[in-house]
Amino acid sequence: MTTITRRPASRERTADPRRSRQGRAGMLGGTVSKYVILTVASAVTLLPLIVLVITAFKTKTEYATTGPLQLPQNWFNFDNFATAFTDGNMAVGFANTTIVLVVSLVGTILIGSMTAYAVDRFDFRFKKVVIGLFLVATLVPSVTTQVATFQIVNGLGLYDTLLSLIALNLGTDIISIYIFVQFMQSIPKDVDEAAMLDGANKFTIYWRVILPLLKPAIATVVIIKGIAIYNEFYQPFLYAPSPENAVISTALFAFKGPYGSQWEIISAGALLVIIPTLIIFLVLQRFIYNGFTQGATK
């Protein structure tokens, strides 16, 4: 994807030397300033992260006696990570986040693909109404309705359970439905008809034919939704406040209290949360870029 679109751009760039000398001199200045700006921007982006890494490896006394930019003496001092992970409730947080993540993703895929299948492959009387309901829902920012959502969650007896987070992840997610509908439109209807001739019913077609063909859309949804769930703070904070229901965000947030100014431990905790994200990013870079470009524009 990127290589195809990039190549024409670079071809366009090679046309530059044919320009007038004046243009080339201006271009050189432009090029230098371009790299200066990009480098400064990258440094600004990385600085808080680098300091986080530096601080996480310092001992308590080292932290107290050195400045934030001074490197730690021992890069193999993992004590802070151990403290954060065991005493800081992060083990529970990671376990709960994993549960919420897996169940929500499976549910989102099923719900999103079922909706997309019904809307794209059937004609039925209230189709317009149904589409309208999903369309209008995209306009309602879920952050605004929490006051009332809280009463619903409470009324259903889901308050302070992981189930509340899962239910909200399933109930307020419209973007994945969009992604599925859009992808489904590109699957030719002949596929369904061929399966129907073979004697498959609508459910078999959905399960055996459509769902496997939706794999690229599923990948996109898993990536953008997965990252969103992993980073979710607002809902766990409101709906699952007990320490045993902590997810990584709320477990990390709880560091603010007991560890107060023990920044070496807080840094280690924050880094523990960031590392999985970094790994996923390095491994799935291309899919992540595409996922975000597709997901956010819908």
Binding site: T45, I111, A137
Partner: protein, 320 residues
């Protein structure tokens, strides 16, 4: 489920009379038609149930609560008309949160400006292009709490920022980044820029790269310079995504929650609209008033979205 598999063949005739002929089987057509009619609803049952329970019921309740003085616990709710709304728009403590939003709106415009610059520059061939792209984008993926704690340390007295200022000899600029009510919102809004520039950047970059390369070639032949290409090819080419980012920027600025809540908890005059709403609802138990605030925010977001749709019609509504 067993009922479902039992209808395997029953659905077939509905797909078309010709199928009956092809298969050489006969089935009662009426049953098939009825089955076919309910099939889409079976697929939609669960999704619609979730949508209604967790999006529409709360949204409708919100309007109802907003005209009451409900505390969230009491079994009865007293209707007090528009009093909550009057409070929001007359009491200084509520008006103040709108002022705080302005910082984030300004920040989001800066953020879009930075993002547009980086996207334009990196859409042309650049050394270490993927590295720059990765670094600039990475904050988008990070956990908000991790970012919050990271910047809490960044802005500490003698923290990262102060140390950097010292190194470059600008220590006289050092202030209480989070303790000074005049500065705190600038610090927090800057954190917001750090966090979200990467997202706008990647959206703009994606849009720029989908502009056909022939346009640039033609412009080159006509002797257009880089700025002219930017002005007359790139900007019109990504108009839609810019306008989309525009609504996201405004509604995002009004619903800022995580960064200020995690870093300052809303102290020193950094309370945002959503922090205030949450406090009213869950700390002060004024669910009626909080609901009215949520309704105000909802209406503002809907108006902004409506204006954006009017100004830049969406070409790609393909949910049909």
């Amino acid at each position: 489920m067993s009922q479902v598999t039992g209808t395997d063949a029953g659905i077939l005739p509905g797909a078309g009379a010709s199928l009956d002929v092809v298969e050489g089987k006969k089935r009662p057509p009426r049953k098939g038609v009825r089955q076919r009619r309910i099939t889409p609803y079976l697929f939609l049952l669960i999704p619609l149930a979730f949508l209604l329970v967790f999006t529409y019921v709360p949204a409708v309740n919100l309007f109802w609560y907003s005209i009451t003085d409900w505390d969230g616990i009491d079994l009865s709710k007293n209707v007090i008309g528009l009093q909550n709304y009057i409070d929001i728009f007359t009491k200084p403590e509520f008006l103040r949160v709108f002022v705080v939003s302005l910082y984030y709106i300004v920040a989001s415009f800066l953020q879009m400006g930075f993002a547009l610059y980086f996207a334009t520059v990196l859409s042309f061939s650049t050394r270490f292009r993927n590295l720059f792209k990765g670094i600039l984008f990475f904050p988008t993926l990070l956990n908000g709490v991790a970012i919050g704690l990271m910047f809490l340390y960044f802005f500490q007295p003698n923290g990262t920022l102060d140390s950097v200022l010292k190194i470059v000899g600008l220590q006289q600029l050092t202030v209480q980044w989070l303790g000074n009510p005049d500065i705190v919102n600038i610090s927090l809004a800057s954190t917001s820029i750090w966090r979200y520039t990467g997202l706008s950047f990647i959206l703009f970059l994606g849009a720029i790269q989908s502009i056909p390369a022939t346009l640039y070639e033609a412009a080159d032949l006509d002797g257009a310079n880089k700025f002219q290409q930017f002005r007359f090819i790139i900007i019109p080419g990504i108009k839609r995504i810019i306008s989309l980012s525009f609504i996201l920027a405004i509604s995002g600025s009004l619903s800022v929650f995580e960064i200020p809540f995690i870093i300052t908890g809303g102290t020193n005059g950094s309370t945002t609209f959503v922090i205030k709403t949450i406090q009213q609802a869950f700390t002060y138990r004024q669910v009626g008033l909080a609901s009215a605030m949520a309704v105000v925010l909802l209406i503002i977001v809907l108006i902004v979205t409506y204006i954006q749709r009017k100004l830049v019609p969406d070409e790609e509504v393909n949910l049909t």
